[in-house]
Symmetry: C2
Subunit: 194 residues, 2 copies
Amino acid sequence: MPALKLTDFAARIVWLGTVPEARENIRSAPREVIELSYAGMAGEMHSGLTRPSCVRVKTQYPNGTEIANTRQLSIVSTEELAEIAQRMGLDAIDPAWLGASIVVEGIPDFTHVPPSARLQGPDGASLVIDMHNRPCLYPAREIDKDHPGSGPKFKSAARGRRGVTAWVEREGHMALGDTLRLFVPDQRAWAPKR
Amino acid sequence: MPALKLTDFAARIVWLGTVPEARENIRSAPREVIELSYAGMAGEMHSGLTRPSCVRVKTQYPNGTEIANTRQLSIVSTEELAEIAQRMGLDAIDPAWLGASIVVEGIPDFTHVPPSARLQGPDGASLVIDMHNRPCLYPAREIDKDHPGSGPKFKSAARGRRGVTAWVEREGHMALGDTLRLFVPDQRAWAPKR
């Protein structure tokens, strides 16, 4: 009796990117295929079975604490990037600005897909969605380089549309044009009634 | 800006157990302290950075596929064990029957705590809750050995009260009497509107 339920939503991969380990900024470079191991994407800035904790988890860990790496990949959606662009008065958002790993198309309200959902590719490779991502200031810097003056508009425009972070549950490959199946935890909302 | 929110719920550890690697059945044996590494609990049946996939994930993986191990620990609550016992007409449920790793007290509706929530102990050791667990037939066999005839009542009595599965995000120790802090993803429900 599986605890994960297959949804009828499918996500098509429309963009892939990796952030080089020796990076100058957060930008990712476009790729046609990514290789996924338990440590994430090979030769990538965010890869690793573990990572030093950052400010995002400061309520749990002093900065730099070694923790399991649930932020191996950053996944965003075409639909939400278009909404961000519209709110910023830009024609489009280049996923490279965000350091994105994967851009998918076809899952409505993608940023709020339930935590612990799984995205699975044609060869069985599978990603665990940890939870939504929060806009930080780094993409604003990149946007401002290409569109001077627009950077500061990013954070509020991207709130609730910044996609999710994910990590590898099963190794394999994902390629441009692949269709990913979406599984979500088959359970009702928490009702602590306090 | 953290994506995990500290709740005002705290869980006290009232029981700990491990399932020996050379096991005859699913029973766990009581412990006073557990040591947590990224592979789970040392010398334990369910430990491992990876595991062979089981029937619970058969919609995603052929049986025996190597996947990341998000089922390192089984956590149940005192309150829900009491409800199961009442529904089965027993005085109490021995967590050992369920192969439980941790029994906590103080979190209402524990089984439905949001997926990707974190439980953190006093030394910083932290567990990621993958999602709710589903009752299987093995505990029924153990219950039937101690209370002949009661086993078959387990599965329906335990539905929605079987606790959660979890894995280690930060290494450390947890001991009887420790209080765990509960963090949950700070996000609204998914609204795909289809």
